[in-house]
Every structure is written in C-alpha cells, then in structure tokens.
Amino acid sequence: MNGIVSYGAYVPCHKIETGEIASVWGADGSAWAKNLNVYSKSVSGPDEDVITIAVEATRQAMKRGNLNGDHIGAIYSGSESHPYAVKPTSTIVAEAISATPNLTAADFEFACKAGTAAIQTCLGMVGDKQIENGIAIGVDTSQGAPGDALEYSASAGGGTLIIGSKNVIATINDTTSYTTDTPDFWRREGQKYPRHGGRFTGKPAFFKHVISCGMMMMERAGTEAKDYDYIVTHQPNGKFPIRAAKTLGFTNEQFETGLLTPRIGNTYSGAIFLGLAAILDIAKPGDRILAVAYGSGAGSDGFDITITDKISKMDRSETVEDMISRMKIVNYATYAKYRGKLNMGATK
C-alpha cells in the first residue's frame, strides 16, 4: 500500500517568549500566553527562509529513507511565505538533493494546508505509477504584523514527507478533503503581513472545516476516535487544536504528542508536518494516526495513517524534540533584526 516512505523536519534554533513580545507592546504577557496557549515561538535566523528550511527537512528525509535523487519523481512545496513570488522553491530543493533533472516540480499555496495538498498530489501520482516517490513539503516563515495577535504565534519551521509505494513506514489508508470559500485569513499580493477576520477565524472557519473533515475521514475509514493512537491537526494556536480534537472525541494522550504550538508557535504550512514528524519520531508498528490539516480560505485535508513494521529499522535520531530543546531564547531586538522588522531605509 502507498504511504510515507520517509520524513524530515526542521525547527530553527532561536525562539522568543510570548512575554517578551507582550512587553514591547505593553501587553500582559502571561494573559496572552494563557489565552493562546503559546508560551514561545521559533524564530528563523537572518539566513533562513522557506527554501533553506525545506532543504534541511528534505535532506533529513532523504538520509533517513536511504534515498538518492534518482528515486524522486516529483517535488511539491506548500507554503504561504515562499521567498519568490515567481520562481519555485521546489526546483531549489530538487537541486539541493541532486534530484534534477528527471522530475516534476511545483509550488503550492493554500494558506496553511498547501503542504497536505502536496501529499494528496503525490499519493495520486504514486498510485497511478507515474512516479516512484514524490516529495511533499510544508514550510512557513510567516510573519504577523508587529503588535497584531498573530505576532504572538507566527513562527518558522516545517517538514517533508516522502510518499511512495515501496518500504513505507506508514501507510496512508485514505484521504479526504472538505473545502469551501471562507475568507477568514488572507494576504493580498505585495502585502508583507497577512490580515484575518478575528474571531471569524474560529467557528465558521477552523472548527467547521477541521471537525467536518475529521468526521468524514472517520466515517470513510469506518473508525472511531478510540481506534487511533494519535491525532494531529492544524494548530494556529495552542487552544484550537485541543478543542477540535476533544469535539471529535479524542483525549489528551492522543493529541499531546503532535501538539507543538505551545512551544514553537504556529508554523502555518509546517504545523501538521512537524506535528506528524513528532509522532513518527516515537510511533510503533501498528499505531494509527488521524491527521487533519486546515488552510484558510478555506479547506481541510484528512489522512488516515497506519504505522508499519518498517519504521523500527529507520534511524529516527535528531527528533523534533531534539530540535525544540536546542532552541535558544532571543530578545525582541534580535528577533526584529533577524526577521527584517527593522526599517533600514535605502542604502544605495
């Protein structure tokens, strides 16, 4: 059966605490942290962006899967912060893993679920035997406008899944999607920071799509919440995913492994990939996972996944937890410098 052949993840080594951000705006840091259930967020360095994170995560996946560039027939990168508006992230990743030139590649955008759309595309191509393995990437280095609620959560990171039919460490039993036109969050062409509909991003947007998609997925699979060992959903903050999982009937033990936002913030397209990677880091053969992504605009992709015996043989060192524990705190000034929030003016 087709599924995940390998996986990789990347979290930058800097983080800023919610209280530090709040202090700059004269806000109550502990209230914000508690309200969002986000206590710190990852910060990418001045030489890191979606492309470098995608390459690092993909190289980890290639190494873990013992794959070389010849094995890769497609690369699709999902992000809403691609460094180029025109010019693919995916070709740079392809070159950096020596997969060129015999492959197809494209960049996807669907807010935070662009990466899971890439997984579905790869599944289709592998199922149709067009390619041996396809790479799906979800990475973001998104920014919240200074002082906006998003600034407390928007962070950097992402992951890679290699989808194929041979040596799968986890089968993807089925996938389904739930899509509507719901303008809860957007960024216009040429704008630096996204805008959002405030509380409108909740009930009619995130919750409606994630819960509907999760229910559809379980209905198709003929499963119930108790049949799963883990659930991971999109996690724009630390509260939404908990409420969604509980509504779907899941418990703390099932969702805590994949819930990273309280410590690393919202990695947008990277969130479900990182949550899934954290689960794959420790999962045992036979474990079953429900994954439900969400992208504003809006849609959810659901995946019903079962771990195979092959995972026991995989080198799963350098876990997501290792990366998170490496993060060092930076202050707001450093964060502003690293993230291009300083207006340097024109020097030439």
Binding site: N37, G45, D49, E95, A96, I329, G340
Partner: protein
C-alpha cells in the same frame, strides 16, 4: 553577483561538489578542472566529488564590522574549516555564540541563504557550517505549564 555567475556554481555551493584528483589522490574544493600540484596530467583526471560536509575549525574570528550583506548577523563568526577529506574553505559558522568557536571544534554543513542581489534580485543559497557538538549546557525547557484542557 550576476545570475549566470551564481548559477554556474550552484552544485558547488548547494551540495559541496568539488573535485578528486586521480593522480595525486587528493580532494579539492571548490571544483577544479586542473590540479596545480599535478600539472597538465591532471586535466581529464579530475572527478566530481561530493564532500561529506563534516570537518574541523582551523581558525576563526568574530567579525564586528560586517561584510556587505552580512550586517544583520553582526557580530558573527567566520572560520577557515578543514573538511574531513582534506581541503580547507572559508565559511560562516552560524547558530552559535561566535565567541565560543575554537580551533579543533567539529562542524557540519547546513543549507543557508548566502545573500541576495538586491531586494528585487535573485537569492543566493549555499553552504554554511554549524558546530556539530553542543558546546553549551542544555537549557532548561521544563518551565512550561501543563497544557490547559
């Protein structure tokens, strides 16, 4: 840097592709079609080689007056690194306290942005290095409250 000038050396920068001289059995970075030590004989005997990307610090400095395009790092660590296969290269050491980098420390390669032509110009990516052994005491990450359910 012009687009073709960067593009021409993409794999050398992205994937540490250098050369192996079959005559002297030595490695070279960046790529060379000619080994100065072996002379004309080496032409045609230089084979592409992908370096493993691990090595050691030979020497380093903390740069306070940044190179053009590196202002946002300041201060940052520049080092001469000796790759395991032999050749040396000049590189930035990132993700560390630059003052703690010392000769002999082990490093490994990472994929990073090297710079850009301008705000509207092409982006340059390539290889930098990080310390491969943690030199600081791990920070305590246990101060997070339980997740509120």
């Amino acid at each position: 840097m012009s687009v073709p000038r960067f593009w021409r050396e993409l794999d050398t920068r992205y994937n540490l592709i250098g050369s192996y001289c079959k005559i002297t059995k030595t490695y070279h970075y960046p790529r060379r079609s000619f080994n100065p030590k072996a002379g004309r004989e080496s032409i045609g005997s230089m084979k592409d080689y992908q370096f493993k990307g691990i090595g050691k610090i030979v020497n380093s400095t903390v740069v306070y007056q940044a190179q053009t395009g590196y202002e946002m790092f300041g201060p940052y660590c520049m080092a001469i690194v000796k790759l395991d296969e032999g050749p040396m290269m000049t590189t930035q050491i990132v993700d560390c306290d630059p003052n703690k980098v010392k000769p002999g420390m082990k490093v490994k390669s990472v994929f990073r942005k090297l710079g850009e032509d301008s705000e509207s110009g092409i982006l340059h990516y390539g290889t930098k290095f990080i310390l491969s052994e943690d030199i600081e005491v791990e920070e305590d990450n246990e101060n997070l409250p339980d997740i509120e359910v």
